[in-house]
């Protein structure tokens, strides 16, 4: 028996259904917790630790130490003001059915009032549980749900049983499926599908173990550990290991109640197919894992997770069955490979003319022509051979109409790489085509070659430009064309290769290729990319305010990208030094003085050095002029960013002594204007490097 404290009890709820889609299972555990917590809190019922579990058919929650009784509630009712007439007071007493000694006097903001504090005794939790369970089930939202038979209730797949135990007692109650059909709360569940044994649960502490005895591992983590450990055992003594695939493991976890890890053989005749084709065919349709040797080569074996209770004979026939299926799958892939490799690339490319890229954006063939045109500019930016670049663009999309990519869309690019190589195209071209969809958003998996980077970039630029032109910009959570990802890819390549291009110029050529001259679209695209630049910089652990101080410069989109990056880097390097911190303080003081004098019109004033009264003014003037000269020469010189920043920070001393010695608010207006003008000029010059006032110290 679980030891409950006298006034607390443990609860077990299990929602048993037909097989829930793997992708929805983890989310459903979280949702169950949230809904249960909300229902308990709303009713003032205290509770302890919550744990959830799920298998394809079971969704369960165990909550420890739930109050056996709801807390007493006090409902406060305000009556008449102190000193009101008898009639009002009597009316209040009568309407609440209370006596004079039931009321108290309380002080409020608006004076003293009579109050009635009505205490309502909490009811037993077991009595409200049926209501709570109904509330949870009816408020549950699945990513996709269905009706069944006459059901009015919707669930991801038909809900078949509700197990409910509280304080080790069954609870009477039911949930309506439709007007005439109900699921009564039960105390049983079912074990592994193979046996489908009905299991009576009497004690919550035994629940998980009871199921495990019936080959049902309820805990996702335990299933995962079993898969990992069994795999290790199976592969031990050999120099082979699983090709890591976290996504596949997570999916497989949602398809098994009791993972039984098995290994089968791949027919040798298929080992000549490209590695990517083999792994994709195995993974996508069959959810098989690939196995590699110590040189990262595929070995002719596959690993899969069966949902069965291990039994030698059965395991053997399951392996054989899976081997036959894989053979059929791979013969298909082999057929596609042979068909594709005996087709001329020109034939494929001709087909592209008939395939729409997107309504209003021409065919895929049109797209390759645009890419090729844009690549003339970008090839010199990337310092790659222009004719190779153009050919790579022209050949970049033909694999989309190949048989293999038709069957496995995730092999796009990769197949193009293989097919161009087989057709004797230069390696530079096939490598670039192979990698053209990298990086996938924020990822370190970059194209291996510069040409690959270029192809990836011009393709993403073409996507962004096209979809912005037809007004399919991403909004909110909607980004059906993965344009945000395209943006991140562009910025990552921009940073990695330190390309000498300004954000302003990024889309110029693509817009030309679409024959579009809209300024608004161009500005939208620029804003979009600036946003992505900020995000990626943030990902690289630069501080928000530092990024903002540079990117918010009016000129920033005209700067070559490496300048922006270098400037952020320089600021980041010195951000914690005392000199910089003092500088920020001084600089803010400068700005404040200017701000407090903003009514003063200095626009026509000309700085007059003859009005200087002190060496401090002269000194500031000299430094300011010197900065101006250097800015004019080096503001956009990559090598000089750090040097300029140093010069700016060194202004510290002169600004400091200026404040010490000089009173800006001179009684003579002429003097005052001259001094304001002096520090305004300096400030303006400093602000060309960075909006320092955005930086926090």
């Amino acid at each position: 028996m679980s030891k409950n404290k006298g006034d607390k009890g443990n609860l077990l709820l299990e929602l048993f259904s037909e097989e829930i889609p793997a992708r929805m299972q983890t989310g459903s555990e979280k949702q169950l917790t949230n809904l249960f917590e909300k229902s308990l809190k709303n009713r003032d019922i205290g509770y302890g630790q919550i744990s959830t579990f799920c298998s394809p058919r079971h969704l369960s929650v165990i909550i420890k130490n739930i109050d056996l009784k709801q807390k007493n509630q006090i409902i406060e009712k305000r009556g008449p003001r102190l000193g009101s007439n008898e009639k009002a007071i009597h009316g209040f007493l009568k309407s609440n059915n209370i006596q004079e000694n039931d009321v108290v006097i309380k002080d409020t903001k608006n004076g003293k009032f009579y109050f009635y504090l009505n205490q309502i005794n909490g009811i037993n939790t077991s009595e409200v549980l049926p209501e709570i369970i109904n509330e949870i089930i009816n408020n549950f939202v699945w990513p996709k749900s269905q009706r069944w038979a006459y059901s009015e209730l919707k669930w991801a797949r038909p809900l078949r049983n509700i197990l409910l135990i509280f304080n080790n007692q069954p609870i009477e109650g039911k949930v309506a499926i439709d007007k005439n059909n109900f699921l009564n709360f039960s105390t049983y569940t079912f074990g592994h599908r193979n046996e489908n044994k009905k299991i009576e649960v009497e004690n919550i502490d035994e629940y998980e173990r009871l199921l495990e005895n019936n080959y049902l591992i309820l805990d996702r983590k335990k299933r995962k550990n079993k898969i990992i450990n069994d795999t290790k055992l199976l592969l031990k003594d050999k120099d082979i290991k699983l090709l890591d695939d976290d996504y596949l493991i997570e999916e497989v976890l949602g398809l098994v109640e009791f993972p039984n890890v098995l290994i089968g053989n791949i027919d040798k005749q298929f080992m000549n197919l490209p590695k990517e084709v083999l792994t994709t065919a195995m993974k996508v349709h069959q959810k098989y894992f690939s196995i590699i040797d110590d040189k990262n080569n595929l070995v002719p074996k596959f690993l899969f997770v069966s949902n069965t209770i291990p039994k030698k004979e059965r395991d053997k026939s399951i392996i054989e069955g899976n081997e036959r299926v894989l053979k059929a799958r791979l013969s298909d892939a082999d057929f596609f490979w042979k068909t594709d490799t005996s087709t001329k690339i020109e034939t494929f490319n001709e087909k592209l003319k008939k395939v729409l890229f997107y309504e209003g954006l021409g065919s895929l063939h049109d797209k390759t022509i645009r890419l090729s045109a844009v690549s003339i500019y970008f090839s010199s930016l990337f310092k790659v051979d222009v004719s190779l670049a153009r050919e790579a663009c022209i050949l970049s999309k033909f694999d989309l109409v190949s048989e293999m990519v038709g069957e496995f869309p995730e092999l796009q690019g990769i197949m193009g790489g293989y097919y161009t190589k087989l057709n004797g195209k230069p390696n530079e071209i096939s490598d670039a085509i192979f990698d053209q969809y990298k990086p996938k958003g924020i990822s370190n998996d970059m194209p291996k070659t510069k040409l690959g980077c270029m192809l990836s970039m011009v393709d993403n630029i073409d996507n962004l430009t096209g979809f912005f032109i037809i007004n399919k910009k991403p909004s909110g959570s909607k980004d059906p064309f993965a344009l945000r990802r395209a943006g991140y890819s562009i910025v990552q390549i921009l940073m990695k290769l330190k390309l000498n291009i300004s954000i302003n110029d990024l889309f110029t050529e693509a817009l030309k290729s679409y024959e579009n001259s809209s300024k608004i679209i161009k500005l939208d695209l620029i804003d979009f990319i600036i946003d992505k630049v900020k995000f990626i910089l943030k990902k690289q652990n630069f501080r928000d305010d530092i990024i903002e101080s540079v990117i918010s410069l009016k000129e920033s989109k005209n700067y070559l990208f490496p300048i922006l990056y270098e400037r952020v880097n320089c600021l980041n390097d010195i951000k914690d030094t005392n000199d910089f911190k003092t500088f920020l303080v001084n600089f803010k003081r400068l700005k404040n003085i200017i701000k407090s004098n903003k009514l003063l019109d200095i626009s026509n004033a000309k700085l007059d050095i003859h009005l200087f009264e002190s060496s401090e003014e002269q000194e500031i003037y000299d430094k300011s002029e010197n900065l101006d000269i250097n800015l004019k020469k080096y503001l956009t010189d990559l090598e000089h960013q750090g040097i300029i920043l140093k010069e700016v920070i060194n202004l510290n001393y002169v600004i400091h002594s200026f404040f010490e010695k000089i009173i800006v608010n001179h009684e003579d207006n002429k003097m005052k204007v001259n001094r304001i003008k002096l520090i305004t000029e300096l400030t303006e010059r400093v602000l060309k490097f960075s909006n320092f006032h955005h930086i926090e110290n």
Binding site: E19, P56, A149, P158, R160, E195, R314, G321, N322, D332
Partner: protein
Amino acid sequence: MDKNKSFQNIIMNLQYYWMDQGCVLMQPYDTEVGAGTFHPATVLRVLGPDPIWKAAYLQPCRRPTDGRYGENPNRLQHYYQFQVIIQPSPDNIQNLYLESLNAVGLNSKDHDIRFVEDDWESPTLGASGLGWEIWCDGMEISQFTYFQQVGGIDVKPVASEITYGLERLAMFIQKVENVYHLDWDGLDKDKGGKTYGDIFLQQEKEFSIYNFEKSNSSVLIQHFNDAEKECSFLLEDKINPLPLPAYDQCIKASHIFNLLDARGVISVSERQAYILRVRNMSRSCCLAWMDKSNV
């Protein structure tokens, strides 16, 4: 070979099994369809008139684009489905299905049976449902769907549809790797026994040539237009429409569209338009059928 495992025995055993479950045993619909679902016994019957409808039938299906000139061991442009439709969906339908496997000599307890999410949608029928593909030792042998909508109309009560891919199932049971090697009748060759290939290889070759190379596109387009016209004509009389003959025209149009598609003469943007036209036909038929059922 165990005679019970022959292709024709598998069909017979499924028929007996579902007959015993109270299904009306029907025969294939006598026109080309892309799937067993197209049979009026499924599409129209789940919309009425009786909320209880159980039927089982074999249905030859045509998918012109899947033809491989008889050269691919797994792909056919003509193949068989066994279709079970039960409305309302019974609470024990999953178990009924698993027992049906026992009936064809496949003891589900000896295998790794998996229900893997696979939501089904037929754009031309305006139909959709949630369910699974059912795996047996990694092989997809059936499709299981809770029908939510047909012709854009909510199916009430919800029906459960089970579709067995018979060639796949038989290949699994007979442990055969090439569809043409399937034993059709369980008879030895010297006694006149036939394989799947003996019966269908020639058909696959000829129809692949027809579907991909020889069909006359302008004639087919004309047929499509005619079917569409006929369909709407048959539904014109709002008081006494003829949804069943009209639906025949809709099925015909759907098959013609598949033929045109295989011939590669439909561009991407036209494609959507064709699908929409068939969808409108099927929806009109469904609505007319429901109107009539409710009288």
